[in-house]
Every structure is written in structure tokens, then in C-alpha cells.
């Protein structure tokens, strides 16, 4: 029979062996661990340099930066003068110059509020939320549109550029999420008609192209309503965008709802919570957390789709750059325009993507069974 043994002295915990530290070690471990990986690494880096170098040369090294007319363009590299000459309109669209400070204030407020809400350490989240939900929209409405308190009225026709893109995206995002949640709940409802309506609504909006929706909203709407009724064009587009994306949002949220074990709802029932309390306090917080990647996918797609407001005759960031290309003084700078637009969109979407990943990590409250 095998031996018996017993330990009297406990072994003290030791520090792990120092095997994997330092830059070289890191490189070796991550890039050159084994012959195949080394080759892959070298080839990849080579391809990256080979592919990016001409672009860097065009966009940075040989580019023209200073000047105010096309005479400043040497034609060897990119001519960013085109962008800088139109920079104001790219940001503000056709918003009257005298009133642009109002746009600045609104977006400064928004940035501040976002920071307040987004950075976990800053206290007073409840107040921030109240301001963001009630105070800020009113302030933004009054400031951007004007017509009150002695502010000059600025028609939405004059909105444009980055300012319009951000406005539409923000309202679209803020609007489509709650509608999507309600639709998702509706689709899981026990009442057949509510469920049927949700399904039809979702499948309809998910099935038609947004372009045609906006087309209808922009030029055909007057046919659908009595002649006296008039809506602001931007408003119509916003409604269209919200409904359209809420259908996508609903499907994402539904995925999350399906993943929450039934026991959670039962526990809520056993505690005496009613339907809306169970949903609001228990099921949705968990479901939404689960589908953050999907929600952000939708946000990003929505953000980029704001470009379609061109159909209602408004010039968002991309459209205003394209409009600039038809200015007879600046013909022929398409590449610069598109590259710049791509860069701006990228910066915003990338930030969203990164922030969401950070939130995903933060919301990890230990593993669940």
C-alpha cells in the first residue's frame, strides 16, 4: 500500500518565477514564438509599411497645408487647403456665423454632460442624468433653433456639417434605444396582438431601405397628411431614422432578453415586484449589459447612416464635403474630401467602440452561473 505522509509546516506562498517580463521577452512571446509566427509577423509588418507608406507620403509628407485658394495646391500630395478653407462650413454647415457660439455652447454642454456621465469617478450621476434627460434637450432646442429669449431664429434648413451629423446621431441614438426596448418587450409579450404588432413593425422597418423611408418622409409626406399640416423636414427625417433603427435595436435587445434566465423574473415575482418593476429593475439592466456589443454595432451604423439626410436636402458632414466638391472654385479635390470625412467618422465611431468595451469590462460583476 502507498505511503502515508503528513505535513506539519505549511509552505509559505512565494512570488511567481520572473519568466515573462521585459520588452524583448514580450516581443519574443507575442511576435516571434515559433518560426511560423515570426514569418507572419515580419511579412505583416512589411505589408503594412508597403501599403501605408505611399498614403503617408501623399497625406502628410508631400501635402499642402497652408493657403486659402486652390493656388496653394502644388498637386504633388494632398491639398488640405480645401478642407481648411471650408472648415467652418464643415463644422457648422450654413449656420449663421453670428449665432455659431450657440452651437459651441450646446456641444460644450454635451461634452461636459457626457464626461460627467461616462467617467465613473465623477459623483452626482443622478443629477447628471436628470440634466441630460430634461434640462439639456430643452437648452439645446432653445439654443440651436432660437426664436426665444431674443435669440435669432435659425431654421433647420441652415443646419449642417458636423453639427447636424452629431445632432441627428444623438437624437437617433437616444430615441431608438427606448423605442427598440419597448418593441423588444412587445415581441415577447404574452398578448398575441401586441406581439403581432411588434413583429410586423420590426420586420417592416428592418426590411425596407432607409433611403426609401427618407424619400417618403421628405417628398411624399405632404401626400399622406391633410394639406394644412406641415412638419419640419429635419423632424420628419428624425422620426424616420428613429423608427428604422429602433427595429434593429429591438432585435438586439430581444437577443439579450432571451439570454436572461427565467429564474430572474420569477425571483422578481416572488419579491412582489410588478411587471414594469421586474423589467426595469431586473431583466433589462442585465439584458442590455449582455448585448452592449450589438447595441454599439447599431449605434455605429446609425451614426454613419446620418449621411442619408442628404435626401431631405440637409447637408451633413459627408454631404457638405461633397457639396464643396461641386463648388466651381474647388473642382477636383474628391480624394481629400473623402479621406477627411472618413477620418472624422472614424474618430467618433472608434471612440464609441472603445468606450463600450471599457463599459463592458466595468460591468463585469463576477461570473454568473
Amino acid at each position: 500500500m502507498a505511503g502515508e505522509s503528513m505535513r506539519d509546516e505549511m509552505i509559505e506562498a512565494r512570488r511567481p518565477p520572473n519568466a515573462h517580463r521585459g520588452v524583448l521577452k514580450w516581443l519574443q512571446r507575442n511576435l516571434f514564438n515559433g518560426p511560423i509566427n515570426s514569418v507572419v509577423s515580419v511579412v505583416t509588418l512589411g505589408v503594412l509599411v508597403w501599403a501605408l507608406w505611399p498614403f503617408v507620403q501623399w497625406a502628410l509628407i508631400q501635402a499642402d497645408w497652408l493657403g486659402d485658394s486652390r493656388q496653394a495646391c502644388s498637386g504633388e500630395g494632398a491639398c488640405w487647403v480645401f478642407i481648411s478653407a471650408r472648415f467652418e462650413s464643415i463644422i457648422y454647415g450654413f449656420y449663421p456665423e453670428a449665432a455659431r457660439w450657440r452651437v459651441d455652447i450646446v456641444f460644450a454642454l454635451m461634452a461636459g454632460l457626457l464626461a460627467w456621465l461616462a467617467i465613473p469617478k465623477v459623483p452626482g450621476k443622478r443629477w447628471a442624468a436628470i440634466i441630460a434627460v430634461i434640462g439639456f434637450p430643452i437648452a439645446a432646442y432653445v439654443l440651436l433653433l432660437g426664436g426665444h429669449f431674443g435669440l435669432m431664429h435659425v431654421s433647420t434648413r441652415n443646419w449642417g456639417g458636423l453639427m447636424l451629423t452629431l445632432t441627428v446621431a444623438t437624437i437617433g441614438i437616444v430615441g431608438s434605444l427606448p423605442i427598440g426596448i419597448v418593441l423588444a418587450l412587445g415581441r415577447r409579450s404574452k398578448m398575441p396582438l401586441v406581439r403581432a404588432v411588434s413583429v410586423v413593425f420590426i420586420e417592416f422597418w428592418r426590411g425596407v431601405p432607409l433611403i426609401t423611408v427618407l424619400f417618403m418622409a421628405s417628398v411624399m409626406l405632404p401626400l399622406f397628411v391633410p394639406t394644412e399640416v406641415e412638419f419640419d423636414k429635419l423632424l420628419r427625417a428624425l422620426v424616420g431614422i428613429m423608427l428604422f433603427w429602433s427595429a434593429y435595436m429591438a432585435e438586439v435587445v430581444r437577443g439579450g432578453l432571451q439570454a436572461i434566465p427565467g429564474g430572474q423574473e420569477e425571483a422578481g415575482k416572488a419579491l412582489g415586484l410588478n411587471y414594469w418593476q421586474r423589467m426595469g429593475l431586473i431583466v433589462l439592466p442585465q439584458a442590455l449589459k449582455l448585448v452592449i456589443p450589438g447595441i454599439v454595432n447599431t449605434f455605429i451604423a446609425l451614426f454613419k447612416d446620418t449621411s442619408l439626410v442628404l435626401i431631405i436636402g440637409l447637408f451633413d458632414l459627408l454631404a457638405i464635403i461633397r457639396a464643396g466638391l461641386t463648388d466651381s472654385d474647388w473642382l477636383g479635390f474628391a480624394t481629400e474630401g473623402y479621406v477627411f470625412a472618413a477620418l472624422v467618422f472614424w474618430v467618433f465611431c472608434f471612440s464609441m467602440s472603445r468606450y463600450s468595451q471599457y463599459i463592458e469590462k466595468r460591468l463585469q460583476t463576477g461570473h454568473t452561473n
Partner: protein, 316 residues
């Protein structure tokens, strides 16, 4: 009636192109510029005495007729070719031709093309949603010339396609060809062929069934053409009104008769147009003509007595 709606609203809703160099494009401050745009301003000046009382609605080719039909806009001034179908079956009325255009061709000089017969087997870049596609289909098959079309959405994409060698030939209205040529990396390496294969009369459109409104648009443009013919321009219009050199000018500028009132406007309507936007010649030169980067010659668009076919009915 449209006029009442416009007056009540305090501004004219005018549909223009989303962006077409020389005809309508917003500058960096959002001021719309171009021949089509000035036409709208002229109409606004006639109604309100103020050329700025106009809201521009940028429209894509697909939207333009629907927007007019549905009442989104009061007048469509968007380089729209006047054709029988459009005039007759859509519930719309064309008013006056403000620009006589024709479909032309731009080719690489190196190809040595001399006539359209040489284009057999060529690929042609073309912008969608225009009459051009129909013209090509009319012209080439009947002459047994085989061509491939490549259709793009916007003018600058068409030009890019041509520049990258996707096709041998770029076709469009001649007015556009000169603009598109400027977008090419080497504008001098291409030439525009002499031959035109179509008539493209462009002008504003209004809804059918409101004759008064049709008249206002028509006569606002006639006033601009007549003004050029009479030598009245935005610089001398005040002086001309105070001392009309002849009875024609006096009638035009409202010193004599009640022509404005007949239209439902004030009698100084034409004065307001010319004061606000200038006569046709001025507008043409500034937007698409010599003073603009496009540098289009007057050609057919010169006055009838200067070798063109621009001919406005007299005001009397």
C-alpha cells in the same frame, strides 16, 4: 393658389440641384450660387421685392418631380430638360428655357477620335437619371454603332470614372463637360467633340393648374431676358427707372402701365428682379460664363439678335 401660399409663408420654396457647378451649389457660407439659383432669386424678387426671400431645397434627380407634385416646393429650378412626357403626363408645366444645352462628348486626345462613328465598341461614362441615357439609346443603335454605358450617380463620380480609364468617352450636357474637364488631373489631355446629339432645353417647372403662378415664373424670366436686350442691368437700373431712355424700358421697369398688377404683383416687379439679381446676361456671365471657372460661351444662349436663340415676348 400658389402665390397666396408663398406670400403667406413669406418666402419662396425653390427646388435646386444638390450640387452642380455653375447651376446650383452652396458656397462655404451656405449661400447658394448658380444660374438656376439666380432664377429663383429673380422670382422671389418679383414677388417680394427681396431676392433673399427664398428657401432652397436641394433635391436629387429622383426626388425632384415628386417634391413638386406633392407641394414641397413651389418651383423646380434644377437643370431639368423639357420633354413631352414630363410636361404632359406628370401634372407639371415647363415655363421658359433658361439654358439651351445639348449632349456632347469628351474624349482623350490620344485616341484620335474625330466623329461619333469612331466610337464603335467604346465604353461611355454617363450620369444616371438624365435624358442622356435615352439619347444614347436613340442615337447609336440606329447608326449601328455598338457602345457600352457605365452609369454613375453624380457628376464628380462620372468624372472620376472617366479619369481612371473606366471608359473611353464621357458624355453629358456640354455645359457640364467643361466643368467636369476641370476636375481631371490633366484637363488639357482631353477634348470635347463638336457634335451634339440632342437638344436639352433646361428651365424651371411648376405644377399644372395654377396659370397665374405659371405666368409669374415665365414673366420673371422674360423680364431678365428683355432687360439684357434693352441694356438694363443692375448697375444702371435705378438711373433707367428715373429717366427711361425709351417706352420699352419704362414699361419694363413699371414707369408705364400696370403689368405687374396684371400678374398679381406690384408694378415694380421687374425693377426688383434686375436690382436684385441682374439681367440674364449678367447672371449667365457670373455663374457659368466667362467670369466663372466654367467659362461657357454664350452660343445658343445668346440673344436672338446676337446670334443665339434667346427670344422673350415683349412686355406691352
Amino acid at each position: 393658389a400658389t402665390l397666396d401660399d408663398v406670400k403667406e409663408r413669406g418666402s419662396l420654396n425653390c427646388g435646386v440641384n444638390v450640387g452642380l457647378a455653375g447651376f446650383s451649389s452652396p458656397d462655404s457660407d451656405g449661400n447658394w450660387q448658380g444660374l438656376d439659383v439666380e432664377t429663383c432669386r429673380g422670382i422671389a424678387a418679383a414677388i417680394f421685392g427681396d431676392p433673399e426671400k427664398v428657401e432652397f431645397t436641394p433635391l436629387t434627380a429622383k426626388e425632384r418631380f415628386t417634391a413638386l407634385q406633392s407641394g414641397e416646393i413651389d418651383v423646380l429650378s434644377r437643370n431639368t430638360t423639357w420633354t413631352a412626357t414630363r410636361d404632359n403626363s406628370l401634372g407639371l408645366n415647363f415655363t421658359v428655357t433658361t439654358f439651351y444645352d445639348g449632349q456632347g462628348f469628351m474624349v482623350d486626345k490620344d485616341l484620335g477620335i474625330e466623329s461619333l462613328e469612331d466610337l464603335d465598341g467604346a465604353s461611355i461614362c454617363i450620369q444616371s437619371g438624365t435624358t442622356h441615357e435615352l439619347n444614347l439609346a436613340d442615337y447609336f443603335p440606329s447608326r449601328d454603332i455598338d457602345i457600352n454605358t457605365v452609369t454613375f450617380d453624380t457628376p464628380d463620380q462620372t468624372a472620376q470614372g472617366f479619369a481612371h480609364g473606366r471608359c473611353d468617352v464621357l458624355t453629358s450636357d456640354t455645359s457640364q463637360l467643361s466643368a467636369l474637364r476641370l476636375q481631371l488631373p490633366e484637363p488639357d489631355s482631353v477634348e470635347i467633340l463638336e457634335t451634339l446629339i440632342s437638344k436639352e432645353p433646361l428651365g424651371p417647372v411648376v405644377r399644372q393648374g395654377d396659370d397665374q403662378w405659371l405666368d409669374i415664373v415665365q414673366w420673371s424670366i422674360f423680364a431678365m431676358i428683355n432687360a439684357e436686350e434693352m441694356g438694363v442691368n443692375s448697375d444702371n437700373v435705378d438711373e433707367m427707372r428715373d429717366n427711361p431712355p425709351n417706352p420699352g424700358v419704362a414699361r419694363l421697369l413699371g414707369d408705364d402701365g400696370n403689368y405687374g398688377e396684371q400678374l398679381g404683383l406690384s408694378d415694380d416687379w421687374a425693377y426688383n428682379i434686375i436690382k436684385g439679381v441682374g439681367n440674364y446676361g449678367e447672371v449667365f456671365t457670373a455663374t457659368v460664363g466667362e467670369d466663372s471657372p466654367l467659362g461657357i460661351k454664350r452660343g445658343l444662349n445668346a440673344l436672338w439678335n446676337e446670334g443665339g436663340i434667346l427670344y422673350a415676348p415683349p412686355i406691352r
